[in-house]
Structure formats: structure tokens, C-alpha cells
């Protein structure tokens, strides 16, 4: 009796595997799908061709002034970016002192990168470095006036430097402020609660630009005779207050999601309000709202561009300022400049949003029930 051997399984029909099947399933499933695919394909080809042609084929890459960018069919004028690159990064920060800015950027990265990697230890030491030492170090390095460094007025700061200073100060200041406001809004004390609600709703109800106008035009009138803040500082305060109101609402969402049992359990253990908040509630609540927090950061980062309206030269402001340089006046200078600034902002924002997704996935693993 010969033993029975199963026949080898037949390969799947050609129509269900491979490229052809994939396109059939994902692109040409039915008539409507086919039409949509063709439409989208035409659109993509058109846009990609236009961008590619503008940014590479018709673009100029070398040159010292506008003559390089006055071809018959002219695409991007990259030499403009090349010539002004230093300005875009540092603004009018004196050439001889730019190493100080580089040092600040570098020392920030040294603290930030290990902080962002969840597997690297020393988080507490790193936190002390980033929040305690670094701001003071950055301030002394950038502003000068001590340790034998020449003073550089904030009016000479510009470009990416100002963008980062405004964004980072806003981020660092808005998180603790926002947490306090959110706690205040859920407080049992009616006056504290009313104040926090009033603050949050007022700042969320008005555009940032009016807050900045207030900081730049009106704040000086609210201060006693002869007391003055630097304009950059006034804008920083405005931005920080504004984003803390948004941060408060994000954090409140997290606080609301914590089940009542957690409070009761903490009370049963004999923990007071602050201990409960610090040890039980906030760690859980903040973890829940990390995406929201990062989204607020991204919003804040994009909003830094508004300081140009009150006369500070952030990256966008300085790019725009250099459009007035007659030696680079060409029809393509504007678009090239905007595309460059847009690409820089996009890079930062996109990286932040990807990081938030990464952290969300990373943190969700230890929450078995969700």
C-alpha cells in the first residue's frame, strides 16, 4: 500500500498576487476607483513635474547676484539662499560672535537628543541640565555682557535664532503654566477656578496677533514710569501666556480621563492634594495627552512667525527683509525664499509630529487596557 502524499498546494492564481493584483485591488477596484486613480495620477504628475522643473531643471544653482537668476525660463534662484544663508540663520548677529550661537545650538542638541530617546538613562540629570543649566548658559552666551563676552543687542538677533528662542522659551514656559492653569480650572476653590477659566478663555478667544500688539504697543503703558522690558522679552511673555492657555485645555483633557477611583485610592492611602496630583494624577494624565502637547508645541512653533508683524525678524521675517535687497531682485526671489523658509519650518514641525507618534506607540505598550 503506497502511502498517501498530499499534492503540493497550487500557487495562488496569478490574478491575486504580484504587482498586477495589487494595482487591481488598490487602484482599479471598480469604475469609480479607476476614474479616481486616473484623476489623482494626472494631478500628481502635473504637480511633481511643475515642482521638479522649477526646483531643479530651470533653477539656477551658482552665481553672485541677480544676473544668475534672469534666464528666459527661470526656476528657483538658489544662489540667493546660498548668499544669504548666514543671515537667515543668525540675523544681524555679528560675524565674529556667531560661534556663540553655534555653541548654544550644539549644547542644546547634546541635551535634547538623549532626552528624546526613551532608552537612554540619566533622564533626571538631563532634565536638570536642560531646564536649569541650559537656559542660563544660553542666555549668557547669546546676550553677552558678562564673562568677557561682548553684548549683542536683541535687535541684532534674527533668523532661525529668534525663531528657536521664541519657540523654545514658549514651550518651556507654557507647559508648567498650562498644568497649573488646568489644575486651577478643576480646583474646588471657586475664585481660583473662576480666575483660571477667565484667563484660559480670554487668551483662547483672541488672536495671537492682538496679544503681540498688546505686548509691543500697550504693555509699556501698563508698567510704572521708567520701567521697560526688552521687546523680545515682551513678545516672549505674550507667546508664553497665549500658548499656556491652549496647553491648559490639553492637560485638562488628560485630567478628565483619569477615573475617580484613582483619586479615591490616593485619598485612602492618606495622600494630600498636591501629593495625589504629583504622584498619581499628573503622570497618568500627561502620558495620555502627549499627542496633544506636541500638537500645541507644533502650533506654537508655527505661530512664532507672527512676531515679524510686530517687527522682530524671525526666520520668515529675515527672509522677507532680504527680498528688498536690490542686488537680488528677480521675479523668482520671493518664491525661492518662501519655499526655503517653508521647507525649514516643515522639517521641524514634521519631525515633531513624527516623534509624537513614535512616543505614543512607545508609551502605549505599558498600558495593557486602553
Amino acid at each position: 500500500m503506497s502511502s498517501w502524499t498530499p499534492t503540493a498546494p497550487r500557487p495562488a492564481p496569478a490574478s491575486t498576487v504580484g504587482f498586477v493584483a495589487w494595482t487591481r485591488a488598490n487602484l482599479f477596484a471598480n469604475k469609480l476607483d479607476t476614474a479616481l486613480t486616473l484623476l489623482a495620477f494626472t494631478l500628481v504628475v502635473y504637480v511633481v513635474e511643475a515642482i521638479f522643473g522649477w526646483a531643479i531643471i530651470d533653477a539656477s544653482f551658482t552665481g553672485d547676484d541677480r544676473t544668475a537668476c534672469l534666464k528666459e525660463v527661470q526656476g528657483a534662484c538658489w544662489p540667493f539662499i546660498e548668499a544669504k544663508f548666514g543671515q537667515f540663520i543668525y540675523g544681524r548677529y555679528p560675524d565674529a560672535e556667531r560661534w556663540r550661537v553655534d555653541l548654544v545650538f550644539l549644547s542644546g542638541l547634546i541635551g535634547l537628543i538623549p532626552m528624546l530617546m526613551p532608552n537612554v538613562g540619566f533622564k533626571r540629570a538631563n532634565m536638570i541640565y536642560l531646564l536649569g543649566f541650559y537656559p542660563i548658559f544660553a542666555f549668557i552666551m547669546l546676550n553677552g555682557g558678562m564673562l568677557g563676552l561682548a553684548t549683542v543687542d536683541t535687535t541684532d538677533w534674527g533668523g532661525l535664532l529668534v525663531t528657536l528662542v521664541v519657540a523654545i522659551t514658549g514651550i518651556v514656559a507654557s507647559l508648567p503654566l498650562g498644568i497649573l492653569l488646568a489644575l486651577g480650572r478643576r480646583s474646588d476653590l471657586p475664585i481660583v477656578r473662576a480666575l483660571c477659566i477667565g484667563f484660559i478663555e480670554i487668551f483662547r478667544g483672541v488672536p495671537l496677533i492682538t496679544v503681540l500688539f498688546m505686548a509691543s504697543v500697550m504693555l509699556p503703558l501698563f508698567l510704572p514710569d521708567g520701567v521697560n522690558f526688552d521687546k523680545l522679552v515682551r513678545c516672549l511673555i505674550g507667546v508664553a501666556l497665549f500658548s499656556s492657555a491652549y496647553m491648559a485645555e490639553v492637560v485638562r483633557g488628560g485630567l478628565q480621563a483619569i477615573p475617580k477611583g484613582q483619586y479615591e485610592a490616593a485619598a485612602a492611602l492618606g495622600l494630600g492634594y498636591w501629593k495625589t496630583t504629583r504622584l498619581i494624577i499628573l503622570p497618568q494624565a500627561l502620558k495620555l495627552v502627549i499627542p496633544g502637547i506636541v500638537n500645541t508645541f507644533i502650533g506654537l512653533f508655527k505661530d512664532t512667525t507672527l512676531v515679524l508683524i510686530v517687527g522682530l525678524f524671525d526666520l520668515l521675517g529675515i527672509v522677507q527683509l532680504h527680498f528688498t535687497d536690490a542686488s537680488w531682485a528677480t521675479p523668482e526671489t520671493h518664491i525661492t525664499g518662501y519655499v526655503f523658509a517653508g521647507a525649514v519650518f516643515w522639517l521641524f514641525c514634521f519631525a515633531m509630529s513624527r516623534y509624537s507618534i513614535f512616543m505614543e506607540n512607545h508609551l502605549s505598550t505599558d498600558r495593557t487596557s486602553s
Binding site: S216, L232, F323
Partner: protein
């Protein structure tokens, strides 16, 4: 909680460190300035010929030179001045609140501003008037042909009001596009959004330099308004106002007397009583103002007389190429006239 304490500590120290509070009696600007060690001067955000920073943050222009002359008169050092760029909107609050000591920001002296905004105008360092710039190929040669035109200008200036009055008075239609910043207005004009760009005549020449092809644009000859541009100070501080006024008059007087930054060193032996008074060899003018006796000497020596300042920044040998016109000395048929220093 350690971390929180840290955060707040860091924040507080950051804010404190960042905000050099300059507390002082703003009632007496001169004292504040002396104690601080430099003059804080409010200028424009970039107008060639008047106040314009280069890539390195070095400021040049008529208004900048005026502030330098004030610094030279007070401290004997024209470098003891810092510049704060201000938008048209911020300028009056900045002077009212004491953020700056002077605004030398091509600002028109008008009665409303002088009486209702808490500022005092004390001198006119440039007599100007509003005009129009158009594309040469438009074929327009006079502003009376601008019926139906679209105008670009900057918001919050006397320009906007003058344009409205002019077009109404001449029974012409117009559409106005008013921008927050001069650069944006010029950019929009350059891109064809408007038929004409209107602002002070001097600024038209200055902004024309920023256009893609300056030769393709002409400044129309008509002047439709009076725009006396001058430095302004906080209202109610007469000592400081006097210094501002007389520093300007000293530069004009120097030109009247033929004293320049080059020859002032050798003028010490001059027997001309007017020159002796100007140089502080005679009289107590410096002491009366509360500043050193050689105030005018230092201002002219380090910055120049009015003619030198004019020619260096906007004169016919500069890219702006502006003739003296109204800003010639009164002896040459212009309006610049210094009250006697005596």
C-alpha cells in the same frame, strides 16, 4: 517636587536675567541717559538715507546721524547710542513709555501728534512733502493724471490721509492698499499690485533703490503735502527737548559759519565770536543745557555739520541723489535756519 521647583527656578532666573529693568525717573531724561551711558534712539525699520541697517547691524542715515550727534554732544562720543527699530504703529508708544529717548524716525510734525499723543516735536531735520512714484512705461507725467489709480502706501502714516484729501480735492477716484510695513508696500507696488506708490518724496527716492529695475520708475514732480520730518521727545521734559533742538541747530549753525568736521579742529583760534560761542570757547551754553561745554564741537567734529550729514546720506552723490531743495540753508533760499547761538 524637585523637577517642578527646578523648572520654576530656571524660568524665573531666565526672565529676570532677560529683562534688564531700567528703572529710573523718566521725568528727567537727561539724568536717565547719563546714568545709562548711552542714548536710546528710535529709528525706522529700514529706510535708505534716513535710518537703514546693513547686514552687520550698522545703522546709517540722516536720522541715525542726528542721534549720533546727540550722543556726541552729551558724552563726547558719537558711538554711545543704541538704535531701536520701530514700526509706524509702535513709535509713539515707544517714546511715551520711555522705551526710547528720542524718535528720529522720519516722522511728520503735525499738530495732532504734537498736542494729543504725549510727544513734543522740537526741530525739523528734513523738510519733505508727499509725492508719487509710477512706472515710466505708464506714460504718466503728472499726479493729476492719476484718476482711477490704485495706490500702495504704508498704514498709519500721514500719507494715507493726504492721499485721500488730494484725490478728493481734485475730484479723482482712487483705491488705496495700505500695508503694515513699507517693505511690503514696496514689494506689492513692485509686483504690479498698484499703479503708484505714494509716500514722502525722499522716501520715494530711497525705496526706488530697492526695486528690481529702478530706472523703470519715475518720481512725479508734484508735492501734495507739507511733511516736516523731525525728532520727537516725550512731552513735558523741556531740558531734554532743548538739547534735541539745539543739537540740530548747532549742525545748521556750523554750516552757516562754514565750520565742518574737517576744519573744526583748526577753528580753535578763530576770532569770529559766533564760532567761539559754537565751539564752547565763550558763554555757558553747555552748562545751561546740562551737558559739556564742547557739546557742539563734539557733535560737528564727530558727525559733521548739517550740509555734510545731508550730502553723505541722501545728497546728489549718493544713490538717492536728492538735491538740497527746501533743505538748503536759508541763505541759499532753503528753509534750514538756526536761531542764533548767543
Amino acid at each position: 517636587m524637585q523637577i517642578k521647583r527646578l523648572v520654576f527656578g530656571a524660568l524665573a532666573s531666565l526672565l529676570l536675567a532677560f529683562a534688564p529693568l531700567s528703572v529710573g525717573a523718566a521725568g528727567n531724561t537727561l539724568d536717565v541717559v547719563m546714568k545709562r551711558g548711552y542714548v536710546q534712539c528710535g529709528v525706522s525699520q529700514g529706510l535708505p538715507g534716513f535710518s537703514n541697517p546693513d547686514d552687520k547691524g550698522n545703522w546709517t542715515g540722516i536720522d541715525v546721524d542726528f542721534c549720533k550727534a546727540v550722543a556726541a554732544a552729551i558724552f563726547g562720543d558719537a558711538a554711545k547710542v543704541k538704535f531701536t527699530p520701530l514700526s509706524a504703529k509702535e513709535r509713539f508708544t515707544a517714546i511715551q513709555s520711555g522705551e526710547v529717548d528720542i524718535i528720529a524716525r522720519n516722522t511728520t510734525w503735525s499738530m495732532h501728534r504734537d498736542t494729543a499723543l504725549g510727544v513734543d516735536f522740537r526741530a525739523v531735520n528734513y523738510y519733505d512733502g508727499q509725492g508719487f512714484m509710477v512706472r515710466a512705461d505708464l506714460g504718466v507725467t503728472s499726479s493729476t493724471e492719476l484718476d482711477g489709480a490704485t495706490l500702495c502706501t504704508n498704514q498709519g502714516t500721514t500719507t494715507e490721509l493726504n492721499a485721500a484729501d488730494y484725490f478728493r480735492a481734485n475730484n479723482m477716484q482712487y483705491e488705496i492698499v495700505a500695508f503694515e510695513k513699507a517693505d511690503e508696500a514696496v514689494a506689492a507696488y513692485n509686483s504690479g499690485r498698484c499703479d503708484a506708490y505714494t509716500t514722502d518724496h525722499s522716501a520715494l527716492y530711497a525705496q526706488r533703490l530697492k526695486l528690481t529695475d529702478p530706472q523703470a520708475h519715475i518720481v512725479l514732480p508734484e508735492i501734495i503735502s507739507k511733511e516736516p520730518l523731525g525728532p520727537a521727545v516725550r512731552q513735558g521734559d523741556n531740558v531734554w527737548g532743548d538739547i534735541i533742538a539745539w543739537v540740530h541747530y548747532a549742525t545748521v549753525a556750523a554750516e552757516e559759519l562754514g565750520v565742518t568736521s574737517k576744519n573744526i579742529g583748526s577753528m580753535g583760534n578763530s576770532t569770529n565770536p559766533s564760532i567761539k560761542r559754537l565751539l564752547g570757547k565763550d558763554g555757558t551754553f553747555g552748562a545751561n543745557l546740562g551737558i559739556p561745554a564742547d557739546w557742539a564741537f563734539q557733535a560737528v567734529k564727530q558727525v559733521g555739520n548739517y550740509g555734510e550729514i545731508f550730502e553723505r546720506n541722501v545728497g546728489i552723490n549718493t544713490p538717492l541723489g536728492i538735491k538740497r531743495g527746501y533743505n538748503a540753508l536759508w541763505t541759499d533760499g532753503g528753509l534750514q535756519y538756526a536761531p542764533p547761538i548767543r
